[in-house]
Symmetry: C2
Subunit: 515 residues, 2 copies
């Protein structure tokens, strides 16, 4: 077996069975190995940010890493923005990045670059295999590194000759690092703090926002009256009808301050203390109210779900029945112009059971987030690192991870332009993803931010740099160009019809909502 086969076998052995690939010459042996080794699904993407975003989405939905296969430094570079988001999500990702053959590197050929240098800012673990015989073991180590709680980016650089030279064997799976347990003393102290009667919020992030963790938090809330909260850009949360309600911290700092104004104790469960997304000339970055105490129940790498159960037990809440969100179907009128709040009403009303919302609607979606609180039970995914051009790719990975669930991507038009090739992979893999493009034809959030930072100039250059008309982007043409069926909705009726049709039909759809 050669190094490439050893790689693929070792990845499969370690439980990695999906590869989002955009290979080049230096990865051709790895590509060939995908055919000689069974068990790895290879998904072609046409730009690397789709590969890394898809791996992020896959990890968020499964807790397991997918691999990416990227071509040298520039290929990795093209995928860095969504690796930034994946890092912020705490997603497990294993990047396989080809490099020139070790014998070729000294010649500084045109594609030679500092691959490890590109990888470091986003990777918890970076390693270059010295020989084909090391590739298998290095792959197993990469997977273990990616599984370091809560999840991490591991980048394995493979010089081309490590692929074609002889390797002995594949490497066995390594034991995954365990979640650190939260000590009894911490739980007891936090239970005591809650019992003092301070106005308390549990601020949650990570797996605690799913399934069992959410149930435990719901019990605590039901028994003690603490508020359940999550941070603004949580990687994944389960919500909707039948689930305990969790308040999401708003985006703008002054709104966060308002929401937290009466809170006297914030208990962190996988979350960090709330801070402003951006710094502003005259606004605070640190958003915990003065006098409010912060206590940490579990850090991101600790067993937050276990800690919540222990806390529930310590508070005598284990048998409490969480208060559950009731199914709410927002009424809406078909009269009037098509607006973001109307769109969210339609999504909330018609979202199928167990769907996945991948949200990058930004200005168009944030104010209307609560409208989907009572929708059918669903998962909700955010742009965790703020690098836009994320969710159309995350939805690729989510749809591959969960083929029986409908994925609805709510996508601003400005950010969609960064990640357009996602649509092609959605079409090729016949993924059940519906993309709603909020075509407001502007970097609208920047118009807001221009004013917020006190920089509003009213001038021509600034206006031009935030404006996406001239020419107007035709999203239906773009989707058709990439093989995805698409409809333009200019009225409420048109949007409702298009969305309902997309919900009723499997496969990729795009709806351009003209705002």
């Amino acid at each position: 077996m050669n190094g490439a086969e050893s790689l693929v076998r070792s990845l499969v052995e370690s439980g990695v069975d999906v590869c989002f690939a955009n290979p080049g010459t230096s990865e051709m042996h790895f590509v060939a190995a995908l055919d000689t080794v069974p068990g790895m699904r290879a998904v072609l993407v046409l730009q690397e940010n789709v590969a890394t975003g898809a791996a992020d989405g896959y990890a968020r939905m499964t807790g397991r890493p997918a691999s990416t296969l990227l071509h040298l430094g520039p290929g990795l570079a093209n995928g860095l923005a969504n690796l930034h988001n994946a890092r912020r999500a705490g997603s497990s990702v294993v990047n396989i990045v080809g490099d020139h053959a070790s014998t070729h590197l000294a010649f500084d050929a045109p594609l030679t670059s500092d691959v490890a240098g590109f990888a470091r800012p986003v990777s918890a673990w970076v390693h270059s295999s010295p020989s084909a015989r090391d590739v298998g073991a290095d792959a197993a180590r990469a997977v273990r590194a990616a599984l370091e709680p809560p999840g991490a980016i591991a980048t394995l650089i493979l010089p081309a000759d490590t692929a074609w030279q002889e390797a002995e064997s594949a490497a066995p799976r390594l034991a995954a690092p365990a979640l650190a347990a939260v000590g009894e003393k911490t739980v007891t102290e936090i239970a005591r703090a809650i019992r003092t009667g301070r106005k308390t919020a549990l601020l949650m992030r990570g797996t605690v926002l799913c399934d069992d963790g959410l149930e435990a938090a719901g019990k605590i809330a039901a028994a003690t009256g603490v508020r359940l909260m999550c941070d603004t850009l949580t990687p994944r949360m389960q919500r909707g009808a039948g689930r305990p309600h969790v308040e999401r911290l708003p985006y703008f700092s002054e709104q966060v301050t308002e929401v937290l104004s009466e809170v006297e104790l914030i208990i962190l469960v996988g979350a960090k203390p709330p801070v402003s997304f951006f710094g502003y000339p005259d606004k605070a970055s640190w958003l915990t109210p003065p006098g409010c105490r912060i206590a940490t129940l579990a850090r991101a790498h600790e067993d937050g779900v276990g800690a919540l159960h222990a806390l529930a037990a310590a508070l005598g809440a284990s048998a409490a029945e969480p208060k559950r969100v009731e199914r709410a179907q927002p009424d809406y009128s078909l009269r009037g112009t098509l607006t973001p709040d109307f769109i969210m009403s339609v999504v909330a009303r018609h979202l199928p059971e167990n769907a996945i919302i991948a949200d990058e609607s930004l200005t168009s979606g944030l104010p209307y987030y609560e409208m989907t609180a009572g929708a059918a039970a669903h998962d909700f995914l955010n742009v965790t690192g703020g690098a836009i051009g994320c969710m159309m790719a995350v939805s690729v990975g989510a749809a591959i991870a969960c083929p029986d669930r409908k994925v609805v991507t709510l996508q601003g038009d400005g950010s969609a332009m960064y990640i357009l090739p996602s649509l092609w992979t959605q079409a090729r893999e016949a993924l059940d993803v519906t993309t709603v493009i909020y075509a407001n034809r502007a970097y609208k959030i920047l118009n807001t931010e221009l004013a917020r930072v006190g920089a509003a100039s009213g001038g021509r250059n600034a206006a031009s740099l935030l404006d996406l008309t001239n020419p107007t982007i035709d999203w239906v043409s773009l989707a058709h160009g990439l093989g995805v069926s698409a409809v333009r909705a200019e009225t409420r009726e048109e949007f409702e019809r298009a969305f309902l049709q997309a919900m009723a039909t499997k496969g990729p759809h795009l709806v351009e909502a003209v705002l």
Copy 2:
């Protein structure tokens, strides 16, 4: 004046008057300053690789840096691949990258990243301004760093508070670093080596391939019979009717070996010794024939043009008349299927005088390069670093640098998908760029490479990863979606008609050539 105004004024003062921008919140003051300071043309791009590629194209055509305005680490990351190409081109580029306000960085908000870490692999100079009062001087230093011969990438990181805080003034232009002169002794020795009668090739790269340098080389060739050569991926060269002919080294290593087989002396003028683009299991990386001597007339940072003139003088060739390429209009038949060589014949025959060819046609173009040798005089630009998704962006910068010249982008379909948003900027700025998409619907070069590296598997996964059908990309729809007029050509007649029409009409056009 605030720091943002100081920045823009200082850049303009230093001769930087174009900014390819994709700003975000942290750059809003800089955006506002573009309106209060006259003299800077702001060009909006919808993805950062378009900004960096455009800056590369602008620098290649003017020898001067444009600036980019990018949003934090992820914004820079999205532009790294084309900065890799720009670095390999020796292009001068000044990146302005916003960062969080210095007061905000400690809070590790979602968009916080190692901006300098992202910048380092591609930048010769990286600096983060500590205060608004430093921004002007730092900008002047960045421009000087970018002008370090032959041209370099300078990245200036500006925390948001350096934009909004008070600055005293703009900074004056710094003297640009001079080209190092080549010593008389070097020239004399090389003249003597040529006179020995060894079969000699001048291998050239950089500004020596334009104007005056080319003339001097032509005189030397005419007087001594040395062969004029350039490397495969030279950033810019002037060629076509009336110019001395320069042999381009081919792409594949065995072809290079063949071309150089009889050469006994290679004289490097701005070039490095020829090496293989990739390393292969059983092929050489170092392509200079055994026994062939290598002598260096000028390194990339030295005055190659001056050295060629000095060499011509030393050889008594100053008055020689270069042999010039005659105008050749390839004949072609409209019978038969549409093929890459037909396309190149049409381009060669109908290219207008003084056009610019931006070439990323890869497998479809490389074998037919010589067909354009006798076309009307033109400039020819290559993907210098091999990071694909380059030329549609480079053409944006070239067209802005040379508004009176027709730009023809020869673009493979696989690589076009990386850089699609270029078309939107071409439409918005009404740039005179015609893009020919070679729609062979495959990563065709990789099919070749799969066999060359001995990895051909014949399997389903490998075939699927190199194939761009299912779905077929519709380039006409994509272009229309981005506001560019487009035509699909499936026959020779259709291609000829579409190309002629594009040559006859100003503004952006796209021709999808179905192969």
